[in-house]
C-alpha cells in the first residue's frame, strides 16, 4: 500500500514545470524523433536514437557518470555531451574491501576512465568548483564556464577524514590505523595492518561513520573478515574485537540487522552502541568516541577508521543541495526526487550515485538501478513527456561473512528484500554469492559503465 502511495506521489510530482519546459524548448532543443515507447528499463538501447542538439553536461566520471555518458550517447543522436572530471584513473571501489583483507591485489581495482568514455563525448579534465543552476552553468577550477541545457550530477561523495580530530589519510597504514574508504594503495596498507593485527593480536576497534556512507556493509565485512583471518591463523583468542556503532543498529535492513546482532556475539565480537569516532591520537594508539554518556577513550592495537561522508563541497554548498531537513544536516546531499532522480527545483537537473540524498542507496548496485531511470526521465523531459521511470531504492550488498561465504542482500526503499535470483536466499550464507563478489561483480560493474546492464 505504502509503495503505491509513494508511486502516486511521484507521478503527481514529476510533471515538468511548463514554464521551464518552454524555456528549454526556446533554448533550441528541437527534439526530432521520439521513438521511446516501450523502452523497458532492463532492456538494452532502443532501436531508434532520439535526435536533439541539446547540450548535456555530466559532472563526475565515476560509476554513475560513465554509465550515464554511455547510455545517453547511445540514446541520443546529435546531443553535445560533455563529461567533466579531472581524475584519469578509475577505481573499482567495491574491490577495496578485498584488497584491505588480503584477498585481492591493489592492481585489480585500478582501471582507466578513458576506456569507458564514449567517442562522441567531450571530456573536460577539470573539477567543477561552482554549480550555477539558475544560469544553467557550471564553473570549473580552471575558470572555464560550461553552459548546459541539461545537467547530470554524479560527483560521488567526500570522505570527511577531517571530521575526526587527529586523523588524515596519510595515517592509513601507520600506527595500527586502517581504512578501506580511500584508495587501493591505502587499502593495501590497511591489509598490512590487519595482517599484523591478526598475527600479533591485541585490541581491535572497528568503527562506522554516522549517517549516509557508501557501502554501509564494508565496515561490517572488514570486521568479519578480520575475525575469519584470525581464526585461520589460529590466533583468535589473542584478539579482542570491538565493533563501535554510531547508532543502535548495525544495518538498515531489519532482517540483516537481526542476523548481525546474533552473528557478532556468536563470533565474540563485542558491540558498543552509540559510539561515534570523533578523535584519534595515533602515537598513543587511542581513539575518542562520542557517546550519550560523554566522551569515551579506548586504546587499540588496530583500528578501522570509517569517517563520516558528505557531498563534495562544490555541490553541497550549491543551490542544488537540500536546503533543509535530514539530508541537508546529514551530508549536504544533492536534492532529488527519490523516485524520478530529478531535481525538484531545477527540472533540467538530475542526480545519481553517492551524491544524492535518498534514504538508502550509496552503492554501485544502486547506480545500476538509478542511471537508467535518470536517462529515461531526462529523455522524457527533453521530449516534453511525463516522467515514467522510477527508482525503487534498490541497493545491494554481498555481505561477506568469511572467506568463501557471503549473503546476497538486496533491498529497496521499503527495506523489503528484493532478490534478483529467487534461488539464492537473502537470509543465508552461501558460497555462490562469494563467487559472485570475488569473480563476477567487477564484470557486471564494467558492463554497467559501458551502459549495457
Amino acid at each position: 500500500m505504502k509503495r503505491r502511495n509513494d508511486r502516486q506521489a511521484f507521478l503527481a510530482e514529476s510533471t515538468v514545470d511548463p514554464g521551464r519546459r518552454r524555456l528549454l524548448k526556446a533554448a533550441g532543443l528541437g527534439i526530432g524523433s521520439l521513438g521511446l515507447a516501450g523502452t523497458g528499463l532492463m532492456t538494452s538501447t532502443p532501436a531508434r536514437a532520439v535526435k536533439t542538439n541539446a547540450r548535456i553536461v555530466i559532472v563526475g566520471a565515476g560509476a554513475a557518470g560513465l554509465a550515464a555518458a554511455n547510455r545517453l550517447s547511445s540514446r541520443l543522436d546529435g546531443a553535445r555531451i560533455t563529461l567533466i572530471d579531472r581524475r584519469e584513473r578509475h577505481l573499482y571501489q567495491p574491490g577495496l574491501t578485498l584488497v584491505a583483507t588480503g584477498l585481492w591485489k591493489p592492481g585489480q581495482t585500478i582501471d582507466e576512465n578513458k576506456r569507458y568514455v564514449p567517442r562522441n563525448v567531450e571530456w573536460i579534465h577539470a573539477s567543477v568548483s561552482e554549480f550555477e543552476p539558475d544560469a544553467n552553468q557550471v564553473v570549473t577550477d580552471t575558470g572555464q564556464r560550461v553552459d548546459y541545457d541539461y545537467l547530470v550530477v554524479t560527483t560521488g561523495l567526500h570522505v570527511d577524514f577531517d571530521a575526526i580530530e587527529g586523523m588524515s589519510p596519510e595515517l592509513i597504514g601507520r600506527e595500527g590505523i586502517g581504512c578501506v574508504y580511500d584508495n587501493p594503495e591505502h587499502a593495501n596498507r590497511t591489509w598490512e595492518m590487519i595482517d599484523r593485527y591478526t598475527t600479533e593480536g591485541g585490541v581491535g576497534l572497528f568503527t562506522r561513520g554516522p549517517g549516509g556512507i557508501k557501502c554501509a556493509g564494508a565496515p561490517l565485512k572488514v570486521a568479519m573478515l578480520t575475525e575469519d583471518l584470525a581464526q585461520r591463523h589460529g590466533n583468535r583468542d589473542r584478539l579482542e574485537m570491538i565493533y563501535n556503532s554510531p547508532s543502535a543498529g548495525l544495518f538498515s535492513q531489519p532482517d540483516m540487522d537481526q542476523f548481525l546482532k546474533e552473528e557478532f556475539p556468536r563470533r565474540d565480537i563485542d558491540i558498543n552502541w552509540h559510539h561515534r569516532l570523533v578523535g584519534i591520537e595515533p602515537e598513543q594508539h587511542r581513539a575518542t568516541f562520542d557517546t550519550p554518556e560523554g566522551e569515551v577513550r579506548l586504546d587499540y592495537d588496530f583500528i578501522h577508521v570509517v569517517p563520516p561522508m558528505r557531498a563534495p563541497d562544490a555541490l553541497g554548498n550549491s543551490p542544488l543541495a537540500w536546503q533543509e531537513g535530514g539530508f541537508a544536516d546529514d551530508g549536504n546531499w544533492m536534492e532529488v526526487d527519490r523516485h524520478s532522480m530529478q531535481h525538484p527545483r531545477y527540472p533540467n537537473v538530475f542526480g545519481a550515485g553517492d551524491c544524492v540524498g535518498t534514504p538508502i542507496g550509496k552503492t554501485a548496485a544502486s547506480v545500476k538501478a538509478q542511471v537508467p531511470v535518470v536517462v529515461d526521465n531526462l529523455v522524457s523531459v527533453m521530449a516534453g513527456r511525463q516522467l515514467t521511470a522510477s527508482y525503487d531504492g534498490y541497493t545491494s550488498c554481498p555481505l561477506i561473512t568469511s572467506r568463501g561465504q557471503a549473503i546476497l542482500v538486496e533491498f529497496d526503499y521499503n527495506l523489503d528484500m528484493v532478490p534478483s535470483f529467487p534461488f539464492i536466499s537473502p537470509y543465508r550464507e552461501h558460497w555462490v554469492p562469494w563467487i559472485m563478489k570475488d569473480k563476477f561483480l567487477k564484470a557486471a560493474y564494467n558492463a554497467m559503465l559501458r551502459g549495457r546492464v
Binding site: Q405, E410, N446
Partner: protein, 115 residues
C-alpha cells in the same frame, strides 16, 4: 534487479575480456584443426575421436568437483545447501565439456595422421 539476456552476455563478455585474445586464438586454432580432421576423417571418424577424449573431460570434471571451491579461495566447508552443491556440479560439468572441446580437434587430427 533483473538482468536481460543481453545484459547477461554483456557481463560474460566483460568477464572474459582480459582473456579474449587467448580465447579467440584457441577457438580459431581448434576450428582449423577440426576442419582438417573432418576433411581427413569424415564426420564419423571425427566424432569417434570424441570418445577417445571423453576420459579427459571426465578427469577435468572430477578435478573441478575436488578443487572448484579451492580455486575460488574457499573450501568444501563453505558450501551450504543444494544451491552451492548444484553450482559446483554445474561448474565442474562446464569445465569438463570445455576441456573436451579444446582437446577433441587436435586428437581427431592426430588420429587421422596415425591412421
Amino acid at each position: 534487479m533483473a538482468f536481460s539476456i543481453f545484459g547477461i552476455f554483456a557481463v560474460l563478455l566483460e568477464f572474459i575480456r582480459p582473456l579474449l585474445p587467448l580465447i579467440l586464438a584457441v577457438v580459431i586454432i581448434d576450428l582449423v584443426l577440426l576442419l582438417l580432421a573432418l576433411r581427413n576423417n569424415g564426420l564419423a571418424g571425427t566424432l569417434a575421436a570424441l570418445k577417445r577424449v571423453l576420459p579427459v573431460g571426465l578427469v577435468v570434471f572430477m578435478l573441478g568437483l575436488l578443487f572448484g571451491p579451492w580455486l575460488t579461495g574457499a573450501g568444501h566447508g563453505n558450501l551450504a545447501g543444494i544451491l552451492d552443491w548444484l553450482s559446483l556440479f554445474g561448474a565442474a560439468v562446464g569445465l569438463g565439456v570445455l576441456a573436451l572441446l579444446v582437446v577433441w580437434p587436435p586428437v581427431a587430427l592426430l588420429r587421422s595422421k596415425n591412421a
